[in-house]
């Protein structure tokens, strides 16, 4: 099917949830209320690292207006010695993250929670809870956690036979790096650091939970997966999943950070104890202290090339901060670092390092920007050393169909080379630069993902369509699904309503994450719609009294398949729906599939910056994102993903970082000092969509959302080098760092 034959796929239609969102009607997590509702509040640790010796809640319980108080004894314990995986999480860490058990592991770690008549009373009562702490030395930075005399966070954690803060290690090997480096004419090895950054969703975590006397529980919350909320809450509170109905509120951004629970199990326990619906919402300060972020990292990257630019070997070693409990995104770092290149000898190695910060959560292409950063910076330097254009160096080594990646897979057809060639030909790449301006390029990869999805497609009695899927819509996926369903049925997209079901009304569907939603949900919607079309053809066959195989579905109507089938006027969807009762009953179909065939995505970014040499401020003045998306079902929201990812990368590269005080407490837990890009910081963000359809997907979709974050860190950094001649290997490139680099250029090398 060529794109020209399509009416809706490839059209930027108006989203089904649009009018609600521009009028303030859309209900986000904090917008729900219930009769009899009370408010919950979390008491958080004032220490970065301490043993909890005793907890006394009696004064809080006696405080007027308090209805329930919970501590770790109200949350199910998952013993350390028994792994309990749930998706990429482990309930041993989740139970300790939502409520500290014997130890607090970061400043802001929950230690108790109160439900009371008002939020103010709950907050007041939290202060009456008496906790006896034995304060321990803390380790915030990676080097603090890896030092010989480092405070060990977990006495059960060992690495190579010794107590350690290293929770795990992952590596990929291809060929023999030592002999590869021996063949190289030029070898460059550099050390890099990146800082932990928060996902930065504007909507703080919030939920409303009602547990009835028979344990029937309803949860309204903002998450990237209502089924994840149901499963984790059931496990952490001891309820059965069938008693919990998790309703996905509209979600005000997640970027990976809402793929785990924080408040839902606490509100559930409080509601059960108090017999009242309980609402909880984090403040921004709580979000910054106790949710997310992604890991900070340090790394060493070494790449060797022939004089002509052919890479002979590449090696990367990464240390990623996990926060107080294991689970840094090591797989993304070591898997994606070298993925854009055809490298004969490669080795990546990554360590998961615990430290006294909040437990990391997924952030857009988790780990991949960290893995990619050093590689794309070293390639930039190699290109200069060899006198090659940096895009030519990448083209020379670009992975293609048939390339065996260092992390294992053999690539199918894909559009990485096209992203590089389009970048080279782009007028941005060839535009002149002014004084103090520089241009940088970089590429990046993300795995993308399939997994479980369910959909139901129902035809209404008046011949319109309701599609229900199981994935929270975080960036316009409902609009893409409406396009696909309308296309298949041959009707106006406005006749298709797309809803997100709750855990009681749609079959199991995995998280919104990993760039999987449109890939997976369009597969189940396509299958369901195909079944509906078969039913419609059968109904027409019955009316015409011909064989169902002699009926075609075209342009929104059943038609005889050819002259031999007979002469009948087409029967439209509306006509068939109106006659459904006499011909066989309701028309609808569902599909539940563990989808496969998501293929990796590649992109290349071009960034221009201008550096103010006096103030040290680097400003992005032009930016272009080029990416193979497989198929852009709804181009405007595809562009939106590319632009949003680039903006987050620019923030990570230039400004965002946590500042800790000497007691291990975050000093900038708000949007004023944790500086995410604002409108006046950015230029327009140009996009160039490349469509090399994924052959394993009915519409050719690959997944879009994660890749655009990956190359941005190094594209910005390489641009700053070209502007001022200083190679910075530590992020962010904030004004003080740039000024330091300008004053002692050689120190930054």
């Amino acid at each position: 099917m060529s794109s020209n034959d399509n009416k809706w796929i490839g059209e930027s239609t108006i989203r089904p949830d649009g009018a609600d969102k521009v009028t303030g009607r859309a209900t986000f997590a904090a917008d729900s209320t219930m009769p009899g509702m009370i408010w919950g509040k979390v008491l958080r640790s004032p220490h970065a690292h301490a043993v909890i010796k005793s907890v006394d809640t009696s004064k809080a319980e006696a405080f007027p207006g308090v209805k329930a108080v919970i501590t770790s004894s109200d949350i199910v314990d998952f013993p350390i010695d028994t792994p309990f995986p749930l998706g990429i999480q482990d309930m041993r860490w989740m139970c300790r993250n939502v409520m500290a058990r014997d130890k607090v592991l970061f400043h802001g770690h929950p230690v108790a929670a109160v439900a009371a008549m008002t939020e103010a009373i709950a907050a007041e009562a939290c202060k009456l809870i008496e906790i006896d702490y034995e304060v321990l030395p803390h380790a915030i930075e990676i080097d603090d956690a890896l030092a010989d005399d480092a405070p060990i966070l977990h006495d059960w954690m060992e690495f190579e036979g010794k107590p350690s803060n290293i929770a795990g290690v992952l590596e990929h090997t291809k060929g023999d790096v030592a002999s590869g480096f021996a063949e190289a004419d030029v070898i460059i090895e550099r050390k890099f650091t990146t800082r932990p950054v928060h996902q930065g969703y504007i909507e703080p975590h919030a939920c409303l939970v009602s547990v009835a006397a028979d344990n029937k529980t309803t949860i309204w919350s903002s998450s990237q997966g209502q089924f994840m909320v149901r499963a984790m809450t059931a496990l952490l509170t001891g309820l059965s999943q069938s008693d919990i109905r998790a309703i996905p509120a509209e979600i005000g951004g997640g970027f990976g950070g809402k793929t785990i629970v924080y408040l839902e199990p606490l509100a559930t326990a409080l509601s059960k104890k108090s017999g009242r619906p309980v609402k909880m919402a984090m403040t921004r300060e709580e979000v910054m202290r106790a949710s997310g972020p992604t890991s900070g990292s340090k790394s060493v990257v070494k790449i060797g090339c022939k004089k002509d630019g052919t890479i002979t070997a590449a090696e990367g070693t990464y240390w990623l901060q996990a926060g107080g409990l294991p689970g840094a995104p090591v797989r993304g770092a070591v898997g994606c670092a070298l993925a854009p290149y055809d490298i004969p000898n490669g080795h990546t190695l990554g360590y998961d390092v615990v430290c006294n910060r909040s437990k990391v959560a997924a952030y857009r292409a988790p780990g991949a920007p960290i893995g990619s950063f050093g590689v794309e910076c070293v390639l930039d330097e190699l290109a200069e050393e060899l006198g090659l254009d940096p895009l030519d160096l990448r083209l020379k080594n670009a992975a293609k169909e048939g390339t065996e990646a260092v992390h294992g897979p053999v690539y199918p057809v894909m559009g990485y080379v096209e992203s590089l060639e389009s970048a080279k030909a782009h007028d941005h790449y060839n535009a002149p630069l002014g004084a103090n301006q520089g241009r940088g390029v970089a590429s990046g990869f993300w795995f993308n993902a399939g997994g479980e999805s369910s959909a139901q497609v129902n035809i209404t009695e008046d011949g319109n369509v309701v599609v229900t899927t199981g994935h929270p819509d975080i960036g316009g996926s409902r609009a893409g699904i409406a396009n696909i369903c309308a296309e298949l049925l041959g009707i106006d997209y406005k006749r298709v309503s797309v809803l997100i079901g709750d855990t009681a009304t749609i079959g199991f569907s995995n998280l919104t994450g990993g760039s999987r939603v449109l890939f997976a949900s369009s597969m189940v919607v396509t299958e369901s719609t195909g079944k509906v079309i078969r039913t419609l053809c059968e109904l027409a066959a019955k009316i015409w009294d011909i064989d169902p195989d002699a009926v075609d579905w075209e342009d929104g109507a059943a038609r005889p398949a050819g002259a031999n089938a007979g002469q009948f006027e087409p029967l439209t969807l509306a006509e068939l729906a109106a006659r459904a009762n006499e011909t066989g009953g309701p028309i609808g179909a569902g599909a539940q599939v563990n989808t496969t065939g998501a293929e990796g995505g590649f992109g290349t970014h071009i960034c221009d910056v201008e550096v103010d040499p006096e103030l040290g401020i680097a400003r992005v003045i032009r930016y272009t994102v080029l990416q193979d998306v497989g198929r852009a079902v709804h181009p405007a929201y595809v562009e939106g993903q590319m632009q949003g990812g680039a903006a987050q990368a620019i923030g990570w590269a230039l400004n965002e970082e946590y500042l800790y005080d000497k007691d291990g407490k975050v000093d900038n837990p708000g949007f004023l000092d944790y500086r995410m890009p604002v409108a006046s910081d950015l230029p327009m963000l140009d996009t160039h969509i490349i469509e090399i359809p994924n052959p394993k997907h009915p519409q050719g979709v690959r997944g879009v959302g994660e890749v655009p974050l990956v190359p941005g860190l190094s594209a910005v950094r390489n641009a700053v080098y070209n502007a001022i001649g200083v190679r910075f290997n530590d992020l962010p490139l904030s004004p003080p760092r740039i000024l330091d680099g300008l004053n002692v250029p050689e120190a930054a090398e």
Binding site: I14, R15, F28, G252, G253, T283, R284, Q643, V678
Partner: protein, 160 residues
């Protein structure tokens, strides 16, 4: 704490409410008046998700005491459309996909309307600086800025 009785006008309608002296306008709108279109992204004046206008002036409702609403005119996102007819900004945001998750959208729209009320022909730079207090983490602002500029052009065309 004894509650204060406040009489005000919200989206053109007279309104009365009781509030604590330290209660913010945002909390009153959301928790007492059922107007949940204004969002709390930070509670500290840094994100603009709670934007409303007070006698036509753009303010962060999280930084305003509800008691300050006495005898004033407040406009929120809920009052922006004219019945079934969306304001041109709302329509353009939909057409140009200027929202992804949509949590920043009510605040963006209220702020953008305040800009166009004051300056019907803003430059891109003026739009960017006017909206610099409205954070959006999803879009990279590109489509938002375009939608505001395009709406301004359209509204200028319509009034010529």
């Amino acid at each position: 704490m004894a509650k204060l009785h406040i009489s005000t006008t919200i989206n053109g309608e007279p309104e009365e409410f009781l509030c604590a002296p330290n209660e913010t306008m945002l909390d009153v709108l959301r928790n007492r008046l059922g107007l949940t279109g204004a969002k709390e992204g930070c509670g500290s004046g840094d994100c603009g998700a709670c934007s409303i206008t007070l006698d036509g002036t753009l303010v962060c409702s999280c930084l305003m005491l509800a008691a300050e609403a006495e005898d004033k005119e407040i406009s929120t996102i809920e009052g922006m459309a004219d019945g079934e007819t969306l304001h041109p900004l709302q329509q353009k945001f939909l057409e140009e996909a200027a929202l992804q998750c949509g949590i920043c959208t009510p605040g963006m729209l209220v702020a953008a309307k305040a800009l166009l009320d004051e300056n019907p022909d803003p430059t891109e730079t003026e739009v960017r600086f006017w909206l610099a207090g409205n954070l959006c983490r999803c879009t990279g602002y590109d489509k938002i800025i375009r939608a505001v500029m395009d709406t301004a052009a359209e509204m200028r065309g319509a009034t010529k």
